[in-house]
Subunit: 232 residues, 2 copies
């Protein structure tokens, strides 16, 4: 049976053997949720980048630039960091250069893998179905936040582990599954309760956040191909 | 209100501010369970050390030497790594030099804190009661295993966070609490199910393991004082 393990933050990725495996990167709030929503509704390709200036360079070559700083769209950028922005008419048929620190670091640290995928709750079952057809072991990399584990990312890791039915590897994976078991009946409510203090204190539970936690809105799988994320 | 946060492995300790705080180190299988059991039943002091030879040095000065390698008592040592060994007649009134890699690393990385305590399920409530009387924030350091999160240590972190009633800080703490919520009605059964594969594949669910998961057998609090762990 294939195995699946959850890595709780990219700071711990060196503890996981990646060669020969598929790495599924998730950054639920909000990079991979934007990526799933965008690529499912007409965006052609998305390149995750750390630096705003790198996005601007690609923008000069005809790409759209997407992302935020301090919860505001970046000056001169075309898209912000709402999944709805990536589903807009403006984005259809376009390639997007997206600034995301945690997601990009997670992708960059996964390059030893055979394949890198991007996933979120929006394409949970589609991703699990794809993985079930492969003969490869899987590492779910929860991108987290500044190197810290991100609860929503870890919960997705637990959800994907359960959805694949693969052999569970590692204590972190058991922890992720336990988290998902506690949260699954009301993901949004659980995240609200867990986040009403601290990191997410200022996280408005807007339509965006609710959207990022909706399961299986899209039937799409996404993989890194020649440095950009595309529908596969 | 005081705050409490769980650090999932000493590999992530740099993400937690320790100055002015109390760090509670836990290594349920088995270092801190031995320490709690021993100090509660007559051991005078325990010094956690990484190297076997450092234990032998202290043994020459009249300390007992304790610990295991490859699940066997070390040649010439007085105690193995069973909590029952630390509760034996031989150990009463003695000082013990104990070899434990994960626990010692966890203690060594916590030296910036105002106070370092050692705890396990055996003194959960006693530790929580002590913390409630202090005016300090708390970091629970789950020692883990080779830098990886250890499920039993993280569950203890969740249990202690709930027992203090302190303000919960950080996504890792929410995750630890979720894990404990899932496991608490049958800690031993949960650990058996979670561990029947992988890391704990060869972990016999012996009396030792059951003992390490028993809650509140002892009314004792333990702190590092002049480099050794003692009853406080």
């Amino acid at each position: 049976m294939n195995t699946i393990e959850v890595c709780l933050t990219h700071e711990l990725i060196q503890q996981h053997e990646l060669a020969g495996k598929i790495v599924v990167v998730t950054d639920v709030f909000r990079a991979t949720s934007c990526i799933v929503a965008g690529l499912a509704t007409g965006v052609k390709a998305i390149k995750p980048l750390i630096e705003v200036d790198d996005c601007r360079e690609l923008q000069k070559q005809g790409w759209l630039a997407g992302g935020e700083r301090h919860a505001q769209k970046i000056e001169g950028f075309d898209l912000d960091n709402s999944p709805f922005s990536y589903m807009s008419e403006l984005a259809k048929g376009k390639k997007v250069a997206m600034t995301t620190t945690n997601g990009t670091l997670a992708v960059n640290k996964s390059l030893a893998a055979d394949e890198i995928m991007a996933a979120s709750f929006g394409n949970l079952t589609a991703t699990a179905n794809y993985l079930q057809k492969q003969k490869k072991d899987v590492v779910v990399l929860a991108a987290g936040w500044k190197g810290r584990p991100g609860l929503e990312d870890v919960l997705f890791g637990g959800a994907l582990a359960l959805a694949t039915g693969f052999e569970i590897i590692g204590d972190s994976t058991h922890l992720a599954i336990a988290g998902y078991e506690v949260a699954k009946d009301d993901l949004l409510g659980y995240m609200q309760r867990a986040s009403h203090l601290q990191r997410l204190k200022n996280l408005d539970i807007t339509d965006d956040i609710a959207f990022c936690l909706e399961i299986d809105k899209f039937d799409i799988i996404i993989a890194l191909q020649d440095g950009v994320l595309m529908k596969k």
